[in-house]
Symmetry: C2
Subunit: 148 residues, 2 copies
DNA sequence: GCTTTACCTCAAGCTAGCTTGAGGTTTTAT
DNA sequence: ATAAAACCTCAAGCTAGCTTGAGGTAAAGC
């Protein structure tokens, strides 16, 4: 096999992911491949970097769809250059900062609640706003009176 | 209806969750109900607090299964008293602290990586250990040489 | 040449935490 | 008394991010 082209197995091994994961990424439009005469996938080395970026982004909590969109903003949908990476990762870092800040606020509120223990849906800071940053879940709706 | 007993709809409304969620929690052994003559669920007010604790715990990232286990450690599987809540929430707060610490380490490593941009699976701090704290995913396995 | 290993596609399965829907019963309101 | 609203159970569906399996082809090793 031409050593300039990587088989899916080789990419999987070098990226530390399963072959099925690469198929999946391709399906989702995150990576691309060429096919050889026998219809097998052949990758350029670039893909290694691309997968590395995907893994890094996932680690900081970016979804595959967001990663795909981020890639799509790059000229010619190219694999991120150093500058691209710096740009994208800065954005992702802000994400991370927000998530950290959210968790810190949560921790602080929890600290208060540990002492109080009321857990009142109406009054307890545990259930207060700003939860849009949380993963999903719409949080409790305040209704009726509350004497839990 | 006896005002000492709450219907599932009433509990749902007061907790800010859907009826189906309460069914689901009951199925998973997180809450309990009695049945009236017509086989409809009837809850004691306690359940409001129980659901509140569940919601609070979920918010700090505890899974339903962990919550169930935590409840199971309480005498008689009772709804957490103030002391119980203080004990449990302290444990959960540590969880939260670990997650925050993990994300902070990640952020710091990312900062380094933004400048470097190598993303080398072998050398880049982005892919280094301690990821057991991350949600799941086993992270990349280091294999072969790496020149992405 | 033969066997093993790697690869292909497509569909279905998995986890968590629920939601939705079908088909039927009970309670409540008028 | 009747109609609407709430309830019941059980099964299936949903999202994300993959994995697994079946059934078949291609490439690589000896």
């Amino acid at each position: 096999m031409d050593h300039h082209e990587l088989s899916v197995g080789a990419v999987a091994k070098r990226c530390g992911v399963k072959v099925s994961t690469l198929h999946y990424y391709e399906n989702k439009g995150l990576i691309h491949s060429l096919r050889n005469a026998g219809n097998q996938r052949r990758y350029r080395k670039e893909v290694l970097r691309r997968v590395a970026v995907i893994k890094a982004a996932q680690k900081v909590g970016v979804t595959l769809e967001e990663i795909r969109q981020a890639f799509a903003t790059l000229p010619d949908n190219r694999t991120p250059t150093l500058e691209d990476w710096q740009h994208l990762s800065s954005l992702w870092q802000e994400n991370l900062n927000e998530r950290i800040a959210y968790l810190e606020r949560l921790r602080d509120r929890l600290t208060g609640c540990i002492g109080c223990g009321c857990l009142s849906m109406k009054n307890c800071p545990m259930y207060n706003e700003d939860d849009r940053l949380a993963q999903k879940g719409d949080g409790p709706v305040l209704l009726d009176h509350d004497d839990a």
